[in-house]
Protein backbone atom coordinates (compact mmCIF):
# COMPACT_ATOMS: atom_id res chain seq x y z
CA UNK A 1 0.00 0.00 0.00
CA UNK A 2 1.43 3.35 -1.02
CA UNK A 3 1.87 5.77 1.86
CA UNK A 4 0.62 9.34 1.68
CA UNK A 5 3.61 11.65 1.98
CA UNK A 6 1.40 14.26 3.59
CA UNK A 7 1.19 12.25 6.81
CA UNK A 8 4.92 12.77 7.40
CA UNK A 9 4.71 16.56 7.16
CA UNK A 10 5.80 18.87 8.55
CA UNK A 11 9.25 17.46 9.28
CA UNK A 12 11.06 18.23 12.50
CA UNK A 13 14.35 20.14 12.03
CA UNK A 14 16.65 17.15 12.71
CA UNK A 15 14.65 14.95 10.34
CA UNK A 16 14.75 17.60 7.63
CA UNK A 17 18.51 18.04 7.97
CA UNK A 18 19.15 14.27 7.89
CA UNK A 19 17.00 13.80 4.78
CA UNK A 20 18.68 16.78 3.12
CA UNK A 21 22.22 15.46 3.55
CA UNK A 22 21.21 11.91 2.59
CA UNK A 23 19.64 13.26 -0.58
CA UNK A 24 23.15 13.96 -1.86
CA UNK A 25 24.83 10.62 -1.11
CA UNK A 26 24.88 7.63 1.19
CA UNK A 27 26.48 8.49 4.50
CA UNK A 28 27.36 6.85 7.80
CA UNK A 29 26.23 8.32 11.11
CA UNK A 30 29.31 10.42 11.78
CA UNK A 31 29.27 11.61 8.17
CA UNK A 32 25.67 12.77 8.57
CA UNK A 33 26.60 14.74 11.69
CA UNK A 34 29.53 16.41 9.95
CA UNK A 35 27.56 17.19 6.81
CA UNK A 36 24.65 18.70 8.76
CA UNK A 37 27.05 20.95 10.67
CA UNK A 38 28.81 21.95 7.43
CA UNK A 39 25.65 22.72 5.46
CA UNK A 40 24.15 24.77 8.29
CA UNK A 41 27.50 26.57 8.68
CA UNK A 42 27.82 25.29 12.23
CA UNK A 43 24.44 26.64 13.33
CA UNK A 44 22.84 23.23 13.70
CA UNK A 45 24.68 20.34 15.31
CA UNK A 46 23.25 16.89 15.76
CA UNK A 47 24.31 14.69 18.67
CA UNK A 48 24.55 10.93 18.18
CA UNK A 49 21.56 10.30 20.43
CA UNK A 50 19.31 12.61 18.40
CA UNK A 51 20.73 11.33 15.12
CA UNK A 52 20.17 7.64 15.81
CA UNK A 53 16.78 8.22 17.35
CA UNK A 54 15.73 9.90 14.11
CA UNK A 55 17.40 7.30 11.93
CA UNK A 56 15.63 4.54 13.83
CA UNK A 57 12.28 6.21 13.25
CA UNK A 58 13.01 7.02 9.61
CA UNK A 59 14.00 3.40 8.94
CA UNK A 60 10.86 2.13 10.65
CA UNK A 61 8.77 4.51 8.53
CA UNK A 62 10.55 3.34 5.41
CA UNK A 63 12.07 6.69 4.47
CA UNK A 64 15.69 5.64 4.96
CA UNK A 65 17.37 2.27 4.58
CA UNK A 66 20.64 0.81 5.68
CA UNK A 67 22.99 -0.20 2.88
CA UNK A 68 25.87 -2.66 2.86
CA UNK A 69 29.26 -1.32 1.87
CA UNK A 70 32.21 -3.05 0.34
CA UNK A 71 34.07 -5.50 2.56
CA UNK A 72 37.24 -3.40 2.63
CA UNK A 73 35.47 -0.44 4.26
CA UNK A 74 35.44 0.01 8.01
CA UNK A 75 33.05 -2.62 9.33
CA UNK A 76 31.91 -0.62 12.35
CA UNK A 77 30.25 1.99 10.18
CA UNK A 78 26.82 1.49 8.70
CA UNK A 79 25.69 3.58 5.77
CA UNK A 80 22.26 5.02 5.31
CA UNK A 81 20.45 5.82 2.06
CA UNK A 82 17.40 7.89 1.28
CA UNK A 83 14.89 5.68 -0.56
CA UNK A 84 12.16 6.74 -2.95
CA UNK A 85 9.56 7.38 -0.25
CA UNK A 86 12.08 9.46 1.69
CA UNK A 87 12.87 11.44 -1.43
CA UNK A 88 9.17 12.08 -2.04
CA UNK A 89 8.67 13.21 1.54
CA UNK A 90 11.67 15.52 1.30
CA UNK A 91 10.38 16.96 -1.98
CA UNK A 92 6.96 17.54 -0.42
CA UNK A 93 8.53 19.22 2.62
CA UNK A 94 10.63 21.50 0.42
CA UNK A 95 7.52 22.43 -1.59
CA UNK A 96 5.72 23.17 1.68
CA UNK A 97 8.61 25.29 2.88
CA UNK A 98 8.70 27.13 -0.46
CA UNK A 99 5.05 27.96 0.05
CA UNK A 100 5.83 29.18 3.56
CA UNK A 101 8.70 31.32 2.25
CA UNK A 102 6.58 32.75 -0.57
CA UNK A 103 3.70 33.56 1.75
CA UNK A 104 6.11 35.10 4.25
CA UNK A 105 7.67 37.36 1.64
CA UNK A 106 4.28 38.53 0.40
CA UNK A 107 3.16 39.33 3.93
CA UNK A 108 6.36 41.22 4.68
CA UNK A 109 6.11 43.25 1.45
CA UNK A 110 2.47 44.09 2.16
CA UNK A 111 3.31 45.22 5.65
CA UNK A 112 6.12 47.61 4.53
CA UNK A 113 5.52 51.15 5.84
CA UNK A 114 4.78 53.62 3.01
CA UNK A 115 6.89 56.75 2.69
CA UNK A 116 5.14 59.94 3.55
Amino acid sequence: MKKDVGEFLPLAPPTLHILLVLAGKDLHGYGIMQEVARESEGQYKLGPGTLYDNLQRLMDQGLVQEVRRAANEESRRRYYRLNSLGRSVLAAEIARLEGVVRAGRLRLQAAKPRRA
Binding site: G29, G47, P48, G49, Y52, R77
Partner: protein, 285 residues
Protein backbone atom coordinates in the same frame (compact mmCIF):
# COMPACT_ATOMS: atom_id res chain seq x y z
CA UNK B 1 37.43 6.60 32.48
CA UNK B 2 35.30 8.93 30.37
CA UNK B 3 34.94 6.31 27.66
CA UNK B 4 33.93 3.66 30.21
CA UNK B 5 31.24 5.96 31.54
CA UNK B 6 30.03 6.67 28.01
CA UNK B 7 29.92 2.91 27.23
CA UNK B 8 27.95 2.36 30.41
CA UNK B 9 25.44 5.09 29.50
CA UNK B 10 25.03 3.70 26.01
CA UNK B 11 24.49 0.23 27.50
CA UNK B 12 21.61 1.60 29.55
CA UNK B 13 19.60 2.24 26.39
CA UNK B 14 16.80 -0.17 25.40
CA UNK B 15 18.00 -3.39 23.83
CA UNK B 16 16.81 -2.66 20.33
CA UNK B 17 18.42 0.77 20.22
CA UNK B 18 21.80 -0.25 21.58
CA UNK B 19 21.98 -3.39 19.48
CA UNK B 20 21.56 -1.27 16.40
CA UNK B 21 23.49 1.89 17.24
CA UNK B 22 25.76 1.36 20.27
CA UNK B 23 28.83 0.51 18.22
CA UNK B 24 28.39 3.53 16.00
CA UNK B 25 27.84 5.84 18.97
CA UNK B 26 31.10 4.62 20.48
CA UNK B 27 32.79 5.19 17.13
CA UNK B 28 31.56 8.79 17.14
CA UNK B 29 32.78 9.21 20.73
CA UNK B 30 36.22 8.04 19.64
CA UNK B 31 36.22 10.52 16.76
CA UNK B 32 35.51 13.43 19.11
CA UNK B 33 38.43 14.92 20.97
CA UNK B 34 38.48 17.82 23.38
CA UNK B 35 36.69 18.16 26.68
CA UNK B 36 33.95 20.48 25.41
CA UNK B 37 32.94 18.20 22.57
CA UNK B 38 33.01 15.17 24.85
CA UNK B 39 30.91 17.02 27.44
CA UNK B 40 28.35 17.71 24.71
CA UNK B 41 28.31 14.00 23.90
CA UNK B 42 27.58 13.12 27.53
CA UNK B 43 24.67 15.57 27.63
CA UNK B 44 23.42 14.12 24.36
CA UNK B 45 23.57 10.52 25.58
CA UNK B 46 21.74 11.43 28.81
CA UNK B 47 18.98 13.15 26.84
CA UNK B 48 18.90 10.13 24.55
CA UNK B 49 18.46 7.80 27.54
CA UNK B 50 15.48 9.81 28.74
CA UNK B 51 14.03 9.96 25.24
CA UNK B 52 14.35 6.23 24.57
CA UNK B 53 12.96 5.04 27.89
CA UNK B 54 10.26 7.66 28.42
CA UNK B 55 9.19 8.93 25.01
CA UNK B 56 9.69 5.82 22.87
CA UNK B 57 7.69 3.04 24.58
CA UNK B 58 6.93 1.41 21.24
CA UNK B 59 10.62 0.61 20.69
CA UNK B 60 11.24 -1.00 24.06
CA UNK B 61 9.63 -4.42 23.85
CA UNK B 62 9.59 -5.25 20.18
CA UNK B 63 12.43 -7.80 20.43
CA UNK B 64 10.73 -9.95 23.05
CA UNK B 65 9.50 -12.64 20.73
CA UNK B 66 11.18 -13.51 17.45
CA UNK B 67 9.69 -16.45 15.56
CA UNK B 68 12.16 -18.94 14.09
CA UNK B 69 11.52 -21.18 11.11
CA UNK B 70 8.26 -19.43 10.44
CA UNK B 71 8.50 -19.99 6.70
CA UNK B 72 8.39 -23.76 6.79
CA UNK B 73 5.01 -25.34 7.26
CA UNK B 74 6.53 -28.68 8.35
CA UNK B 75 8.84 -27.24 10.97
CA UNK B 76 7.30 -26.31 14.30
CA UNK B 77 7.29 -22.61 15.11
CA UNK B 78 9.60 -21.57 17.95
CA UNK B 79 9.72 -18.30 19.76
CA UNK B 80 12.79 -16.85 21.38
CA UNK B 81 12.10 -15.35 24.76
CA UNK B 82 15.43 -13.58 24.91
CA UNK B 83 15.15 -9.99 26.03
CA UNK B 84 17.31 -7.36 27.60
CA UNK B 85 14.70 -6.87 30.31
CA UNK B 86 13.66 -9.55 32.79
CA UNK B 87 10.13 -10.79 32.31
CA UNK B 88 7.47 -9.46 34.65
CA UNK B 89 6.77 -12.97 35.96
CA UNK B 90 10.48 -13.35 36.89
CA UNK B 91 10.42 -10.04 38.74
CA UNK B 92 7.30 -11.07 40.66
CA UNK B 93 8.83 -14.48 41.51
CA UNK B 94 12.01 -12.82 42.74
CA UNK B 95 10.09 -10.34 44.88
CA UNK B 96 7.97 -13.07 46.48
CA UNK B 97 11.00 -15.29 47.19
CA UNK B 98 12.91 -12.37 48.75
CA UNK B 99 9.93 -11.53 50.94
CA UNK B 100 9.53 -15.14 52.11
CA UNK B 101 13.25 -15.47 52.86
CA UNK B 102 13.43 -12.19 54.80
CA UNK B 103 10.27 -13.08 56.77
CA UNK B 104 11.71 -16.49 57.72
CA UNK B 105 15.00 -14.92 58.74
CA UNK B 106 13.29 -12.23 60.84
CA UNK B 107 11.06 -14.85 62.50
CA UNK B 108 14.06 -17.05 63.28
CA UNK B 109 16.08 -14.18 64.77
CA UNK B 110 13.02 -13.16 66.80
CA UNK B 111 12.96 -16.64 68.36
CA UNK B 112 16.51 -16.24 69.55
CA UNK B 113 18.18 -18.10 66.73
CA UNK B 114 16.78 -21.53 67.57
CA UNK B 115 16.58 -23.88 64.63
CA UNK B 116 19.02 -24.56 61.83
CA UNK B 117 18.30 -21.33 59.92
CA UNK B 118 18.70 -19.24 63.04
CA UNK B 119 21.96 -20.96 63.97
CA UNK B 120 23.33 -20.08 60.57
CA UNK B 121 22.91 -16.37 61.27
CA UNK B 122 22.69 -15.96 65.04
CA UNK B 123 25.46 -17.02 67.39
CA UNK B 124 23.90 -18.10 70.70
CA UNK B 125 26.95 -19.60 72.45
CA UNK B 126 29.27 -17.88 74.91
CA UNK B 127 30.68 -14.49 73.98
CA UNK B 128 33.69 -14.96 71.68
CA UNK B 129 36.12 -12.93 73.74
CA UNK B 130 35.70 -14.90 76.93
CA UNK B 131 34.71 -18.23 78.42
CA UNK B 132 33.99 -19.47 81.91
CA UNK B 133 36.86 -20.63 84.05
CA UNK B 134 36.80 -23.35 86.70
CA UNK B 135 35.51 -21.00 89.40
CA UNK B 136 32.83 -19.53 87.17
CA UNK B 137 34.72 -16.24 86.62
CA UNK B 138 35.24 -14.93 83.15
CA UNK B 139 38.56 -15.89 81.59
CA UNK B 140 40.06 -13.82 78.80
CA UNK B 141 41.74 -15.42 75.81
CA UNK B 142 44.70 -13.51 74.53
CA UNK B 143 44.08 -14.38 70.89
CA UNK B 144 40.54 -12.98 70.90
CA UNK B 145 39.47 -9.36 70.66
CA UNK B 146 38.02 -7.47 73.57
CA UNK B 147 34.52 -6.56 72.33
CA UNK B 148 32.15 -3.68 73.03
CA UNK B 149 29.56 -6.13 74.41
CA UNK B 150 31.73 -6.86 77.44
CA UNK B 151 30.66 -4.91 80.57
CA UNK B 152 34.28 -3.98 81.25
CA UNK B 153 34.72 -2.41 77.83
CA UNK B 154 33.77 1.22 78.73
CA UNK B 155 36.06 1.15 81.77
CA UNK B 156 38.88 -0.49 79.88
CA UNK B 157 38.54 1.96 77.01
CA UNK B 158 38.79 5.00 79.32
CA UNK B 159 41.44 3.46 81.53
CA UNK B 160 43.77 2.51 78.67
CA UNK B 161 43.59 6.08 77.40
CA UNK B 162 44.18 7.61 80.84
CA UNK B 163 47.18 5.47 81.79
CA UNK B 164 49.68 6.39 79.12
CA UNK B 165 51.83 3.37 79.91
CA UNK B 166 48.96 1.07 78.93
CA UNK B 167 48.27 3.17 75.86
CA UNK B 168 51.79 2.67 74.51
CA UNK B 169 52.01 -0.96 75.58
CA UNK B 170 48.74 -1.83 73.79
CA UNK B 171 50.10 -1.21 70.31
CA UNK B 172 47.05 -2.54 68.45
CA UNK B 173 44.58 -0.87 70.87
CA UNK B 174 42.56 -4.00 71.49
CA UNK B 175 42.78 -3.55 75.29
CA UNK B 176 44.79 -6.77 75.54
CA UNK B 177 48.55 -6.78 76.06
CA UNK B 178 49.56 -9.67 73.86
CA UNK B 179 52.74 -11.77 74.38
CA UNK B 180 54.43 -9.78 71.61
CA UNK B 181 53.43 -6.47 73.22
CA UNK B 182 54.77 -7.77 76.56
CA UNK B 183 58.10 -8.69 74.99
CA UNK B 184 58.46 -5.26 73.31
CA UNK B 185 57.50 -3.35 76.47
CA UNK B 186 60.95 -1.76 77.12
CA UNK B 187 61.02 -0.11 73.72
CA UNK B 188 57.44 1.06 74.06
CA UNK B 189 58.03 2.54 77.53
CA UNK B 190 61.14 4.43 76.40
CA UNK B 191 58.93 6.35 73.98
CA UNK B 192 57.17 7.92 76.98
CA UNK B 193 60.39 9.42 78.32
CA UNK B 194 59.75 12.97 77.20
CA UNK B 195 62.35 14.45 79.54
CA UNK B 196 65.05 12.05 78.24
CA UNK B 197 66.29 11.35 81.74
CA UNK B 198 66.09 7.59 81.21
CA UNK B 199 63.24 7.07 83.65
CA UNK B 200 59.48 7.61 83.76
CA UNK B 201 57.92 10.01 86.23
CA UNK B 202 54.26 9.67 87.30
CA UNK B 203 53.41 12.54 84.90
CA UNK B 204 55.01 10.64 82.02
CA UNK B 205 52.94 7.61 83.03
CA UNK B 206 49.68 9.58 82.93
CA UNK B 207 49.44 11.36 86.30
CA UNK B 208 47.65 14.73 85.98
CA UNK B 209 46.33 17.06 88.66
CA UNK B 210 45.08 19.84 86.43
CA UNK B 211 46.63 23.07 85.15
CA UNK B 212 44.85 25.80 87.08
CA UNK B 213 47.55 28.30 88.19
CA UNK B 214 45.21 29.81 90.81
CA UNK B 215 45.22 26.64 92.84
CA UNK B 216 48.37 26.27 94.96
CA UNK B 217 48.62 22.68 96.04
CA UNK B 218 50.73 21.60 98.93
CA UNK B 219 53.90 20.04 97.43
CA UNK B 220 53.87 17.27 100.04
CA UNK B 221 50.28 16.43 99.13
CA UNK B 222 51.16 16.41 95.45
CA UNK B 223 54.03 14.02 96.11
CA UNK B 224 51.70 11.81 98.13
CA UNK B 225 49.19 11.72 95.25
CA UNK B 226 51.95 10.88 92.79
CA UNK B 227 52.98 7.91 94.91
CA UNK B 228 49.36 6.80 95.29
CA UNK B 229 48.93 6.99 91.51
CA UNK B 230 51.91 4.70 90.98
CA UNK B 231 50.71 2.24 93.63
CA UNK B 232 46.98 2.08 92.85
CA UNK B 233 47.31 1.16 89.21
CA UNK B 234 48.35 -2.49 88.94
CA UNK B 235 50.50 -2.13 85.85
CA UNK B 236 52.39 0.87 87.30
CA UNK B 237 52.80 -0.83 90.65
CA UNK B 238 54.25 -3.87 88.90
CA UNK B 239 56.64 -1.81 86.79
CA UNK B 240 57.78 0.36 89.73
CA UNK B 241 59.39 -2.61 91.47
CA UNK B 242 61.13 -0.58 94.21
CA UNK B 243 58.01 1.56 94.84
CA UNK B 244 59.89 4.84 94.76
CA UNK B 245 57.23 6.47 92.59
CA UNK B 246 59.24 6.33 89.35
CA UNK B 247 60.03 3.69 86.75
CA UNK B 248 63.78 3.71 86.52
CA UNK B 249 65.94 2.72 83.55
CA UNK B 250 66.57 -0.71 85.08
CA UNK B 251 62.87 -1.18 85.73
CA UNK B 252 62.14 -0.25 82.12
CA UNK B 253 64.70 -2.79 80.96
CA UNK B 254 63.11 -5.44 83.19
CA UNK B 255 59.49 -4.43 82.35
CA UNK B 256 58.64 -7.54 80.31
CA UNK B 257 59.36 -9.84 83.23
CA UNK B 258 57.41 -7.59 85.63
CA UNK B 259 54.42 -7.52 83.30
CA UNK B 260 54.39 -11.31 83.03
CA UNK B 261 53.90 -11.46 86.78
CA UNK B 262 50.48 -9.81 86.29
CA UNK B 263 49.33 -12.75 84.15
CA UNK B 264 47.16 -14.51 86.72
CA UNK B 265 45.59 -17.07 84.40
CA UNK B 266 48.90 -17.87 82.66
CA UNK B 267 47.57 -17.40 79.15
CA UNK B 268 50.57 -15.17 78.27
CA UNK B 269 48.31 -12.17 77.58
CA UNK B 270 47.23 -9.40 79.92
CA UNK B 271 43.51 -8.74 79.73
CA UNK B 272 41.52 -5.86 81.30
CA UNK B 273 40.51 -7.89 84.35
CA UNK B 274 44.23 -8.32 85.10
CA UNK B 275 45.12 -4.69 84.42
CA UNK B 276 42.28 -2.58 85.79
CA UNK B 277 42.31 -1.58 89.49
CA UNK B 278 40.23 -3.78 91.79
CA UNK B 279 37.08 -1.61 92.11
CA UNK B 280 36.66 -1.53 88.35
CA UNK B 281 36.84 -5.30 87.97
CA UNK B 282 34.85 -6.26 91.05
CA UNK B 283 31.68 -6.92 89.05
CA UNK B 284 33.64 -9.41 86.96
CA UNK B 285 35.24 -11.26 89.84
Amino acid sequence: MGRLLYVWLVDLHPYRFRERFAEEMLGIYDEHTGSRRRAALFIDVLVSLFRQWVLRPAYRETALSVPLAANSSETPLFHMLDSSLPRRSSLVNGAVLSLVFLSALTFSIGRGGRGSLGRAFVHTGPAPAQSLGANGAAVWHGDLKHTAEDPLYPFANAYFRMIRVLDVLDADHDHIISPWEVSTAPAALRRLDGSHDGKLSPEECGFYLGANPKINLDPRRVQRERLRFMQLNPVLAALDADHDGEISADEIENSSAELRMLDQNHDASLTPDELLPGPLTIQRR
